[in-house]
Symmetry: C2
């Protein structure tokens, strides 16, 4: 899959992964794997970006000797998902432009 095509989906996808239940990095990657694969370095970069943008909050938890950072979506984060849905209408229009079959001359 074309990397560029994935780009716009990543942030919204991560937010969607924590939308219904708080989650942590390692699990987010596993949950998204059937839909969208991403490397760890990419995920943690995104999580930091989303935190900086107040899309989510972080809470550290000690779990079996290991550190776990649980991410919780904020109202801003939920709004980001809605924004994504809005944008998608435009995206579909572009998609139709790309895939349209012209009856013109070639």
């Amino acid at each position: 899959m074309d990397i560029q095509l994935k780009r716009g989906l990543l942030d919204a996808c991560v937010l969607a992964a924590i939308k219904n239940e708080d989650s942590y990095g390692y699990r987010i990657i596993k949950d998204m794997k059937p839909y969208l694969e991403m490397s760890e370095s990419t995920l943690y970069t995104i999580l930091k970006r989303l935190e900086a943008g107040n899309m989510l909050t972080v809470r550290s938890v000690e779990h079996e000797g290991r550190l776990r950072k649980y991410y919780h979506i904020t109202r801003e984060g939920l709004r980001r998902i809605e924004e994504f849905k809005e944008d998608w209408k435009e995206i579909n229009a572009i998609y139709n432009f790309i895939t349209r079959e012209e009856t013109g001359n070639e």
Copy 2:
């Protein structure tokens, strides 16, 4: 509109703009404007990239004292559009993941 979201569409969009008829930079921008706005610097970067990737060929034409470079899509370019269509199936699956309404607990 989110820039990242546009990224994956740009190459395919430019190819679509010359698919049915050879065209040149200035006109491509105008043709795409209703669907997708892009700056000149972006377009010409993309055209060069597509040329380097053998997705299109270029032909210079003198038109009313001004230079025009006509772009013609190649078989490779047409295949790129088909590839885009294939990718879109996956994109739709991701879109559904992002927008699904879980019946679970929040």
